[in-house]
Symmetry: C3
Subunit: 359 residues, 3 copies
């Protein structure tokens, strides 16, 4: 049984297969309509979501499957103190597939460990958001045919933006050249940078303003500022100003650049760009449905050629507690810390739950 907890659960070959299936589903929806008949998807949303939850539900229904779940943890047994493990053991009886969003990093991994059905990470804290990254990659491949060789700028809140983390790692895996654009305190966290370097040999250029590099970018990926997480001494307007994308800024961009945004946007992406042919964000939003359809069908084994062998990973129990206070291992006491080694020659490990570096 296969899960999608982080993108490391899929090989590049498998991702490309999923995209091929997604393209087929997008162009010939009728053909695939019955593939999930009689199957149930559970959507466990412990955090607010419209886009991710509804697009998964839409994807499942388009395949003739059904959904159940919750979108407000206050109306669930969580309010009574139930652990993630027990919730997983329960829901595994009710559904054939689970999507979970939770505010703790690593939470989807815990659900996957205790469920007997495939689990998809719909976003775990400030860690990762792999299905968003799949939709993002797919959108680039549809417009540009490939990612290899493209210069991809990611701007905004790279510190807390889980979509940015997954996207950055995904672009590197497929050979894109990254530029990280963010004010100093919001730059990409060390664990993403370490993985980029160790696994993909890439040290992205880091700049503080999108204007500096706008003319070099093939893809401009903008991220929402998570205002509620901003350090007290930073001003939201100033921060946002450093990577605001509008018509004036886009004048200096390549004529065939792509503007992307996982949405929802607040003020960092001007409405005046909506009619710019380089705007790809509505397309990106629409692509989320066929990509999730293909992923669902693949994980449920309904398209058996898609998923072959899971990538090999070097994960082992660890004696050390993870230092990330938001890591699920610091909230659910029955968990044993585990660490992943990317390159045995370097003494650098990552928490297998939240990805944070473990010294």
């Amino acid at each position: 049984m296969r899960h999608l907890v982080t993108l490391d659960d899929l090989s590049n070959f498998e991702i490309e297969q999923i995209f091929r299936l997604a393209a087929g589903m997008q162009s010939q929806q009728e053909t695939w309509a019955g593939i999930c008949r009689g199957k149930l998807l559970a959507t466990l949303f412990y955090e607010p979501s419209t886009r991710t939850r509804l697009s998964f539900e839409s994807a499942m229904e388009r395949l003739n499957g059904r959904t159940l779940g919750f979108s407000d943890p206050r109306a669930t047994s969580t309010a009574k103190g139930e652990t993630l493990a027990d919730t997983a053991r329960m829901v595994t009886n009710y559904a054939d597939l689970i999507v979970v969003r939770h505010n703790w990093a690593g939470s989807a991994r815990v659900i996957a460990q205790h469920a007997h059905v495939p689990v998809i990470n719909g976003g775990d804290g400030s860690h990762t958001h792999p299905t968003q990254a799949l939709a993002d990659l797919y959108t680039i491949m549809r417009r540009k045919s490939q990612i290899q060789g493209l210069t991809v700028g990611i701007c905004g809140d790279l510190q807390f933006g889980r979509a940015a983390h997954s996207f950055s790692l995904a672009v590197a895996r497929f050979g894109g050249n990254l530029i990280h654009i963010a004010p100093k305190p919001l730059q990409m966290p060390p664990w993403v940078l370490a993985q980029l370097e160790q696994c993909h040999g890439q040290k992205p250029l880091e700049v503080e303003s999108v204007i500096e590099v706008i003319d070099r970018l093939d893809v401009i990926y903008v991220n929402r500022l998570q205002e509620e997480r901003l350090p007290a001494n930073m001003d939201a307007a100033t921060v946002r100003g450093s990577y605001l994308l509008n018509a004036a800024v886009m004048k200096n961009a390549k004529p065939d650049a792509m503007i992307m945004h996982p949405l929802p946007r607040v003020n960092e992406l001007a409405y005046e760009l909506d009619d710019d042919p380089r705007a790809a964000y509505f397309e990106q939003s629409a692509n989320a449905v066929p990509v999730r359809m293909a992923l669902i069908a693949s994980l449920m084994g309904l398209e058996q050629l898609i998923l072959t062998q899971p990538p090999e990973r070097d994960i082992a129990a660890s004696a050390k507690l993870c230092e990330n206070p938001n890591c699920v291992t610091n909230h659910e006491t029955y968990l044993t810390p585990e660490r992943e080694t990317f390159d045995a020659t370097v003494e650098l490990h990552a928490c297998a739950y939240c990805g944070n570096l473990v010294s």
Copy 2:
């Protein structure tokens, strides 16, 4: 593509066609069961609702379609500051039809402008509630065959009651004679009165107590008092007393009168009337399902003979901001004010979003 934002989006002929289809669906549900197979309805409820949301979901499921959506905006991207326009652009990818309820007047119109699928207004602020009015009209037509010539009293909170607004305008369109019954501060707002006069040549009698006119009414339509919106100097019990309907009051009513109420009721409609054969409100509640089934099938083009030509309307951009603080144009900054002219010979216009008069 057709929407139902206000009843002005449908001609009288089309409404009657929808009622014919509804009657067919009500008597022979099996015949129509498969008509929405494979179709998805998104229910976007930014305000509390059981009746409207569940009856739409029931209607869609009875036609073998499916639903997805939300009933609590706190669990959505709205909490992250997403505009209605962006929400519409997103949901349009997930569903084949949208029902929206929102607390801003004119909000459904904004969703309709940005979606690529038909949109139904499930209630927008204190503005209108067109599908309730359809169920209301249908219920009268089922009992009385026609509305033409009937004397219809509408009592309760006419100031804020969106169902009352839509119902009043609907009755006038079909030739009913209106009496508005409400304490002074809760009387029908100027924009409804203006439209009644300009479009339908009707100046309803306005009285303050139902007792004054009870013996003349063929239809008594009672409305819930929206206590939370009551001016500070008014007492809810006193206000409610002025239009309370109970057995004593009904003694003076016609033997074949109809008692209607959009429900939920609080204290304005006594339980002792539930067994009175003139009570039509449970019937009215039940009728909401077939009427919404017929509407869904019609808007989705599944019954192509039903909808013919949309009524012509004279709507143009306006330089003036709408003065209604609850109008969506005063909340979503990307919107351009628009005004509708009902009668070019009179210098009187209505905001095309919230209906309010624009001088």
Copy 3:
């Protein structure tokens, strides 16, 4: 039409028939998949729930039926002051079957009185939780073949635990020997004890600690402490200590004992027992789905041989108000008190809504 408001609505014969159907549905799910095609289940959850709501939704979907409803009363007409009776009259138009959970004892009975479709009690205040008891009984029967003659210990919060109430009465009906294990202030309420004695001639042994009786138990049923309802002078940790189940305690239990828990657990059931072969609680959780599938099919009359004659009950209007402040009759003013007589020779009656003794 049949409802399941309390287990008294079903005869023992009928319960056993439902279990036979459940076993068939569990082993041959495909055979029964289409039985609810075109049918709608309404889930009205006025209280938090994941397990009960999702297992009902899963059960209905597994039978190819559909669900609609709410899980948060703040997003419903209840917030506008609607009575249970009016809610029932509304929902009866939208669905073919209703499941309701509500914090008032007796609330499901009110829904059943006003709906025209079968109603299932999904938990009413501190009163009963009959479908949980069905899943519990079924789990014992699957492991032990019968309940007759087994010694069954029920520990935890017996005062407020509705699952414990239903389970205790159910075990007695099928001839199990009960031991009630709870600290004094949390012991089984008088109405359950009275019914056990009057209807089943059983006076369960009452002890304060599970250790005293652990070696005699065939079934150990643990209940969550409802901390929010604990009297101010009691300490949650101490109380929980008196019936905490862990490996040390289980050393003294029979080798073929069964550990049960309706879940969610908090701290009263140690994770170290999860791998003990005597642990039956995950099985019990999984069994909830086929049992509810069988119940749904039976109540909807889809399996006509299952339900035969409802048990005869002696219920009459009463002049006295129920003294339980949480009884629905003290909240919904249109209700007439009714009382049930179990044994006419004893002057002891129970409120027909909440079960409380009426002098």
